[in-house]
Symmetry: C3
Subunit: 672 residues, 3 copies
């Protein structure tokens, strides 16, 4: 495995750099300021294609040679982009197969981003040609540390070229049209296909009644873009086999199945742009999701804004200290790089009001530059000590992109059932208990976990039920929820009673599913104490009407015609326990519920008695050292008593601590 | 007239059945469960076209032969669908004139429903060919009871083929282009047409300023789909002249003028999917509307969900007892059949989360199956006694689809003026008074009514004013409202002062129309008592500023610059009375208003002293027996004192009742 | 300069007249009723093209001859429309280059308005041909007073024909593609153009990331429509050099840069359709904006509704007296004509529910007719005395259409930053202080003003900063706000620190810009009294974080991490003062702020001690006489003490007034 950790002796600290937007005169000043900000890596030329190849037979690498040499001379290494994120205007004009077609069925004109058809032969040919040139030219350059393929892959194409490729993809996957008809349940509304050519892309004016088609189209499109990535990576691996390859992912980005993508990356990197007022737990969720893509390996925070975004409705500034706090949060959850978009604010176009390290003002004077520089110095002082650490989680939440699509394409039972928010509810509960939690695919190696939660796992793919049964039987604590175990991988309902293949392990039968409006609620009543849970707690969204078939009933519904019927159950299964939450419990109930489960399995937080708003995350270094990241997300200073007075704070250098005081938005990294 | 009543000796109890979605192995089990649920009729194969004709020259009726034979062997008859609701993919691919074009001007790809152009020659040819085959093959089958043509006709096509047909339709209707220009008032904005070819379909990018064009396009499209229906029905009438023909209507479905459609049906059937929390009165409204299409003849409830829907935002379960209650409500208002969508929940695609009699679980164990089976037994026990009854209504509300279009296409005076909710306001008032009320076209035979209400009758078509005048003159009590009598059948304003042709009968002149925002209200003040009405009542929406020209003023406005001017008037006209409500009265005022009018005409409820939430509807059997349907829409049991103790409850068999107790959601059918 | 003032001896009082929508029989009645309403001018035939030229080679002027002769015989003159606002259907059918293409990229079918491509050669040829015919036929007719070119120009075309014209426009403006790339900052996202043909129209499926492209496209489209106007005007100026030319503008109409348009008009005219419940100040704003287009020259109120509109959500009637009040408000702010849309309500199509002088009822009896007629008599009694007056404003607000586009196309910092409402905030403050205020382009002659406010002047075009500096240096009081001085005329940010070229004059540096949600606020605190301002006032929207660089700090922020930093500053600059408002102050603070500034410059209201809701505007006649317009916008009568008892009310004729009483919605015109 190639990772920058084998190369770098310190945390990467850098930014996207677009020198082609600026006169050459400014490049030396850029290097000087980068040094001042302790920047040690620059990502470029992400959008440089047209600057490197202004016409099909004209190549202009000189400027890039100059910039890379200047950077390296200044001690700054390079995360080299393949520059294929935005194809030149001449290319779109010359090759009509390249521009993408939207879901509205309309072909896009040149412009914007995500504007190439992933199944365009000309795009494939010309992009890999460019990549080959870059690799041949810079493959041996000492500044080159990482390859950055494309950029924020995304977009879905619905052109006829994609239609043809989709039909081949289907033929490869299913073998025959009969099998497609069977899997997609096309007999519904008489939609049976009798020739392959009848299957078209699901544009707005196309087939919208076959959810399985849409799910397969999403799979196909995710694969198609991944093929673009792989085509570039193949060239790079051939020419520079020792340089690690990444592309920047985007957390819970719906249309790409990152589980499949991660397998093709040497190291995961991602761009963190939390929505306004996102709770700390939700940011931790994203980090954990990205970390989980490659079994807990460290990742790169490839982009964050130093100050503000531009594409939200109201783009607040990051308050002083917030950028530093969130950077340490990223590191706590697995980041070995803290990087920004972007180095210098552009003068024009859509992102001119997006934050950057160097403001339009142009000097090192502004607050934002100062905060970045201060963090840079601090990161430098940490040396290699934080690198390569793993978060020792015993709890995991299962997350599956294809399940996401299945849940949200479903017509009924409720438009308010959204997959990511559901997963976040359970993560928040564990986060509030300070329990380190991974987020992994159902297909990941689960053997290391003691507690697994599968929120709204509607789609149960082949072998997953058996795998979960075996894991539980061996002593695991398994939790799943309402609307789980419903459909197979092509969205066909498992017959014989919900929750289908999970029914045996859970010891219940869900007879019906009631949907509540946002104004409605029910309650779950714990007549017998379950941990600290006792009495009634509000619930909402969906209420499965279940029957215990061997499971013990922990709580029942408080009202409506199904009052008194089971709402929370547990089934002993081999050495393990399988819990079912038949409705969406409120956060208080979830917190108490998981407190009890963790207590039963002796899963404890890294530190006791933590105040509200303080996050603590352990990370175990390759050397075996455990570093505790303490993060104060509140705007008040807090005191945290430590159980032993043998801690040292890596950021202040103070040692033999019996307690630690975190200023407003403060952070500490404690070593024993 | 052919109706199932001449065939059946009991209420039809059945469901949509889609055996082609299931392996043959399950068909016997289906028959066994149908028998268990007292199902006596199955509707199929609604979406079976591609299963019957998988290619243009291949026919595969064997499976349907088998299914129908199995059903009939099990004592279950068939509502045989013509299977043309969803054309095969090969047909769309082979005949590009078939797929429909949306209002956006974009041709639809294959898929979904309502996807054929009603003016496509190939669709017409191939659909009638299929119908002929079905009729020839099954016309003599003893199971065949009713023909079900198409399914839930709907959708509007805007293709050029429709454009050409529209121009022919216009030429036939108006004779000359000059007449079209005159009727549509095309001199407005200089839109005069000088060649027929200049008239195009009103797509989003087309003419939107001529309301008359849009109304005529709606007429044309309703006629076009009706022609599709008629083409199929013609084949059936030729081959099976004794089998009644229906197609399932959808209540207040805006784009089809069901008044015209009903004339072509042997029996009305319709699909009832009330929106969440629809009041009982609004469900009654829909039943009354469907009943009124064929002068009060009984109808078939062709579809209702046994448990939940899937296409609403939040799909609540029907609470225990509700399905039974609503079934009896349908019967109370004229249904001779209680049927469901669908028999067995499909495994995949859009409707897999829609309720069915047989759940995905697959047995007779679930609550939903049990409730259906219990109702089936109960209906069976009623025998023929409830069949063929008529609701003896003396009050009627006029409802006109073309008026609906005119009201809602109008630019001004208020976007909040919606036709159906207005009609429902007046229906609710009468329903609250337990007055049986019909809903009929202005062109229906009105001679049997004593009270007629024409809410927002903006469009007065030829001869209607004269007809209403004659009816009132002969002693009727006529009520109409603000924004009535404004335009003719091509949306041209009647000059000379509102309410145009109704002005003489009403004895008023509406000088101006003021529009209120949803936040604003005015009041109507009854200075002299009118029945129980006295003092001020809130009003909203629109306020006509009227002058009494012979009419007596019953109430005046309470505020604004028109305070003190007439708001409610009555004009003696011949032997009758003509009332004008110049603004939208609140429900209390409407209730008092109609209480007075009913009292004046001695229109009384079937039972006195009914508690809130209880509905009572009389239905007079062909034998002359009056059955009283009592329906408890509340979740509390209620006691209803009966005026005489000679009643018998057909559902319990109890007789000599002096009072009746209805459980929560309970129902009773009382005979004297 | 040709203005109707040189022709008319009284205020124009008239209406749009569409005789071609009516049978000839009604024309004499129209003239009779016009006389009754003191109408002295009629605008026609705005939509008459197809009636004058029903086919390309057929001309039918006879009906128009008749109508104009009848009008003139009745003493009514004509505002002669060129009839090109709505091209005939035959023209669209015959010349496919004529119909416009929407932003969705879809070509429009015939119909509606604003439906011709402004760059269509055939439209240009045929429209000017029609204009030539009209001018030749009616140029000498004594009734002809004004030319009315087109009508309410608007609409944006995105067809390929416009694309080609746009590229020529760009080449003419920028000289080279390199310069376009530089100005538009196309290096962003690698969007550099390498051939002119790569630049396409910015449809929805096109380039949306280059704000400068969109701004230039708006400029180009505004110019394109203006070229249509000019082509017609050129013909008219050649044939009837002495007849003034106008076209009716629409106030704050976003897509046309009226500053450029006004230069081509002989006299400004505009259509006033205030949105429901628009405050008097906002209506005054529109009048001031229109007046300012030609340096304060009088304008024509070409359209207002006599009663109600039809295209708003809820179309309330104008209350009795309101139409008169608003007519005098228009005159107060510069109108020399009071005209209506329209004379007679049409019978059909989209505008049939729009108010008119003659209602559908058809006589002079309705209230609306009576109010128009009463106003007509009153206006006639004023003779020429009010004509030609100028509003003697010493304060001005800068308004720039191109800045509007730049502000609202920007991605970030806040979607709630809207240009017109911002300008209205400052206008309202001055209006509340009864300070006559002009609204003018930054490029206008500013020398006559003592106070200039430039709200949100994000775009600083060449020479403007220097001009404003010189003006301030010479003693002016200059005020600007947050988010000013950011970009140049092609939307490129000025480097070196905000507010760019205004930084020196303002003596501040804006380091960052914080965006608040609508739920958030901050406060500005005046620790030292500034006029009557003391203590804290709420602020919202955006907060610039500024540093005083020579400026004095008048107020600071009250909270957040920038509490205590400057929020309101003033910099002495030469003989003048330059104020900076770093955030959106509430109305109380703005009122106090401008009260202080006006007091400092001795800018005083025309009358002291005016009650709330009363507007007073002075207008100075060519003779030097000052007329004071007093307008009571409240629904209560008010008494206004006058400082001297030598006033005369032109409307009542009463003189030697020591005070004046205005009835509810009343008006007075006072002369000394």
């Amino acid at each position: 495995m190639k990772t920058p950790n084998t190369i770098f002796s310190q945390i990467l600290h850098g930014a996207d750099y677009n020198p082609e937007q600026w006169p050459e005169a400014i490049w030396d000043e850029d290097v000087r300021l980068m040094q001042k900000a302790s920047v040690n890596i620059a990502t470029l030329p992400v959008f440089g294609w047209v600057s490197l190849q202004p016409a099909e037979d004209v190549w202009t690498f000189d400027w890039l040679d100059t910039v890379i040499d200047k950077l390296w001379a200044g001690g700054i290494s390079v995360c080299l982009a393949t520059a294929t994120a935005s194809q030149p205007a001449w290319l779109d004009a010359k090759y009509p197969d390249v521009p993408t077609t939207g879901r509205d069925g309309v072909k896009r004109k040149h412009g914007n981003r995500h504007s190439f058809c992933p199944n365009s032969p000309n795009f494939r040919r010309l992009s890999t040609q460019l990549v080959r040139r870059l690799a041949e030219r810079y493959g041996e350059h000492p500044a080159l540390q990482i390859w950055h393929v494309g950029n924020e892959y995304g977009g879905t194409c619905y052109c006829d070229q994609c239609g043809a490729a989709f039909r081949h993809w289907l033929e490869h996957r299913y073998g025959s049209l009969e099998e497609v008809n069977r899997r997609w349940y096309t007999a519904f509304w008489g939609h049976t296909f009798t020739e392959w050519s009848q299957i078209e892309t699901p544009t707005d004016n196309g087939e919208g009644s076959l959810q399985a088609l849409r799910i397969d189209y999403d799979r196909f499109q995710s694969d198609s873009l991944l093929n673009c990535f792989k085509a570039e990576a193949d060239v790079l691996r051939q020419i520079t086999p020792n340089v690690p390859i990444t592309t920047n992912l985007m957390g819970t980005f719906k249309t790409l199945d990152y589980c499949k993508w991660a397998a093709e990356l040497d190291i995961v990197s991602w761009d963190s742009y939390p929505i306004k007022d996102a709770p700390a737990a939700d940011m931790a969720f994203q980090h954990a999701l990205m970390r989980g893509l490659k079994e807990g390996q460290p990742f790169l925070l490839m982009e964050q804004t130093p100050s503000q975004q531009n594409w939200q409705a109201h783009n607040a500034l990051k308050r002083p200290g917030i950028m530093r706090l969130w950077s340490y949060q990223a590191m706590a959850h697995g980041a070995d790089a803290i990087m920004y978009f972007q180095w210098r604010r552009g003068r024009g176009a859509t992102e001119k009001y997006h934050g950057a390290i160097v403001e339009h003002e142009g000097t090192d004077k502004p607050r934002v530059f100062q905060e970045v520089a201060a963090l840079g110095r601090e990161l430098k002082s940490l040396g290699a000590r934080t690198l390569g650490g793993r978060v020792p989680a015993r709890a995991a939440i299962l997350f599956d992109w294809e399940n996401w699509w299945a849940v949200e394409y479903s017509s009924g039972p409720s438009i308010d059932l959204k997959y990511v928010p559901q997963c976040q509810e359970y993560f928040r509960a564990l986060h509030g208990l300070h329990i380190p939690t991974d987020i992994v695919s159902p297909e990941a190696d689960l053997s290391g976990y003691d507690l697994i939660i599968a929120p709204v796992l509607t789609m149960i793919k082949p072998d997953i039920a058996e795998k979960l049964e075996a894991w539980t039987q061996a002593g695991g604590t398994f939790v799943t929820t309402f609307f789980s175990g419903i459909v197979d991988e092509t969205d066909r309902v498992y017959l014989g009673g919900y929750p289908g293949p999970l029914r045996r392990m859970l010891g219940i039968w869900a007879e019906e599913i009631d949907a509540l409006t946002p104004q409605q609620s029910n309650s779950v009543v714990f007549e017998t104490k379950f941990g600290e849970l006792a009495g009634a707690y509000s619930c909402r969204l969906l209420c499965d009407l279940i029957h215990a078939e061997g499971a013990a009933v922990l709580a029942t519904y408080g009202s409506d015609f199904y009052a008194g019927t089971p709402a929370v159950t547990v089934n002993s299964f081999g050495q393990g326990q399988a819990y079912y939450l038949a409705t969406a419990l409120n956060s208080e109930a979830l917190s108490g519920f998981f407190a009890k489960l963790c207590a039963d399995k002796a899963i404890v937080p890294p530190l006791p008695n933590l105040p509200d708003g303080v996050e603590v995350v352990p990370r175990v270094s390759p050397s075996g050292e455990t570093l505790l990241y303490l993060l104060n997300h509140t705007d008040q200073s807090v005191e945290i008593p430590l159980p032993r007075d043998t801690f040292q704070d890596l950021l202040t250098g103070q040692s033999r601590l019996g307690e630690v005081t975190l200023a407003k938005y403060g952070a500490a990294i404690l070593a024993e």
